[in-house]
């Protein structure tokens, strides 16, 4: 890999042990993907929840602090695993909270901004067209690449940290023009109507594309998705397909026309109502009992919080209901009275976490939750490995089902 003089100094340890580790890590990863050099990035974003890191990850972060690690660029964080204001009632242990506190302390010492969000593109600082970034959440990456036209690979926690420390990332994958051209072309024959429809469309495209290295382009959409709709679509696509980038012809910034992304000559694959219904059919049916209803994955925007509150008003839930939003949205939603309305039903709004990365297995066992209903196509894909049977329905049907205790 071609290194600048500054990068060579980092590798030689002249800029401290933490930076030496970081650039060595980047060279190893870049080597596997034939990166010619490193590219400067404007922001890094790290997933670092205690369930994923474990004691080993906590020790690693503290060791980095001891080695003088300090981020060189603005660096933010993905949702945490423990809402420190509400963990015992969820069945989370003091050990989990202690590990969470250790990680927060270590990150703060490195100069990381504890934003604890997977909707930073709605609440913190969205990247711009052509912006090279190192983001560490698949939903964040696919939205930033596709909707904003930024350039990021999926950066797992260690690599996001390395990028924060060096201010660079290896130039491979989606940092290169040639990997942003479309490889599959889908025509939509059924228009999505609400958030979950967009999620299901994303899920199906992801499933069909099926690889990190496939880039779908979607045509035939008669409406421009809102940010929340594109968020659900992208998050589901990334989850089902490991897909980091998609284009929507005439909508997203790199695909004003099909030819812009080299898609005009690709064979056309149709997505019909039957295809979308078949995907939904795998996730629950009317009359199925439910233990917990989850609104999360991604965290809810203030607009989703308002929509949810409007549907919750005056209702009482028979099922447990968990809502996850960001620490940026939460105080706004409190001030506007939305949290009170939502929690008036018996639901609980958590701040700065996401359901699936907050020890989902353990809280399921502690609360006797196995049958989970959500309006998120992403979470129903993830959660079965944690011992849940997932079901999918629109926000409206999720609310009605929470009242009834079964899918309506």
């Amino acid at each position: 890999m071609n290194l600048t003089d500054e990068e060579k100094a980092m590798l030689a340890g002249e800029m401290g042990e933490a930076k030496r580790w970081a650039i060595d890590h980047q060279i190893k990863v870049g080597g596997m993907f034939d990166a010619p050099d490193l590219v400067p990035v404007s922001q890094a974003h790290m997933m670092a929840d205690p369930e994923s890191l474990g004691e080993a990850g906590g020790d690693f972060l503290e060791d980095m602090v001891a080695k003088g690690a300090r981020v060189a660029i603005p660096m933010i964080t993905d949702p945490r695993g423990v809402d420190l204001n509400h963990y015992r009632p969820l069945g989370q242990s003091e050990e989990m909270a202690t590990l969470e506190r250790r990680m927060i302390a270590a990150c703060e010492k490195m100069g990381i901004l504890m934003t604890n969000t997977c909707v930073n593109y709605q609440t913190i600082m969205p990247p711009v067209l052509g912006d090279h970034v190192a983001y560490g959440d698949t939903g964040v990456v696919i939205y930033s690449n596709s909707i904003c036209g930024a350039r990021s690979n999926f950066e797992g926690g260690p690599s996001a940290l390395a990028a924060g420390l060096t201010g660079r990332t290896p130039r491979y994958g989606l940092h290169l023009d040639e990997n942003r051209q479309a490889t599959r072309r889908f025509v939509v024959r059924e228009q999505p109507k609400e958030l979950t429809d967009w999620g299901v469309l994303g899920a199906l495209v992801g499933k069909l594309a099926g690889s990190y290295w496939a880039v779908p382009v979607i045509e035939g959409l008669e409406v421009v998705p809102t940010s929340d709709e594109a968020k659900h679509m992208g998050a589901a696509m990334a989850s089902f397909g490991s897909t980091p980038l998609f284009h929507m012809a005439g909508i997203t910034p790199e695909a004003e026309t099909l030819a812009d992304v080299g898609a005009d000559k690709l064979p056309v694959e149709e997505i019909t109502k039957a295809d979308l219904d078949a995907l939904r059919a795998g996730f629950g049916a009317k009359g199925d009992k439910i233990d917990v209803v989850v609104f999360a994955a991604p965290q809810l925007s203030i607009v989703e919080m308002q929509a949810l509150a409007a549907q919750c008003a005056g209702k009482t839930f028979k099922s447990a209901v968990i809502v996850c939003t960001s620490p940026q949205v939460y105080p706004d939603a409190t001030r506007m009275g939305l949290i009170d309305v939502i929690e008036g039903t018996g639901a609980k709004v958590l701040e700065g976490t996401c359901f699936y990365n907050q020890y989902a297995r353990e809280i399921g066992e502690a609360n006797g939750w196995t049958r989970l209903l959500s309006n998120s196509a992403k979470i129903v894909n993830i959660i079965s490995g944690y011992g849940y049977t997932p079901a999918l329905a629109s926000m409206e049907r999720c609310v009605a089902s929470a009242v009834a205790g079964e899918i309506v």
Binding site: M32, M47, A48, T138, F154, G156, P158, S384
Partner: protein, 137 residues
Amino acid sequence: MTKELKCHKGIGEKVQGIALVADDNFSARYDLDRKKGVFSRPAHKLCGQSYHDKILVLNTSKGGVASAWMLHEMKSRNICPKAILFNTANTILAQGAALANLTMCDRFEDGDVTQLIQTGDEVIVDPEQGLVTVVNG
């Protein structure tokens, strides 16, 4: 009979072990019970099987960024595969392998690695050389 399979240069150290193979994908978050060291996602073709000390051979890596930290955490408790071979790795698994010093290779010249290697085969993985040797017999 020995069979040599060329692949792309990978990550980690040279290792030897027994293969566990499926024409399926991999995510540490979605597919595993990491405490027990088994595949736990009901829809996964290896559901219920232990991955401990195995050379896992799978199609591609799926899903979330958490897998990078998770490989490191699994390695720290020594309930971990010895190596993972993919047709195509995604970036997260490669990053996790780099942190955990777990052996990982992908992109095999002779085609679908989940067909080229069978469960139970004894396999040597040399990521530096980009070479996987099947030493049955």
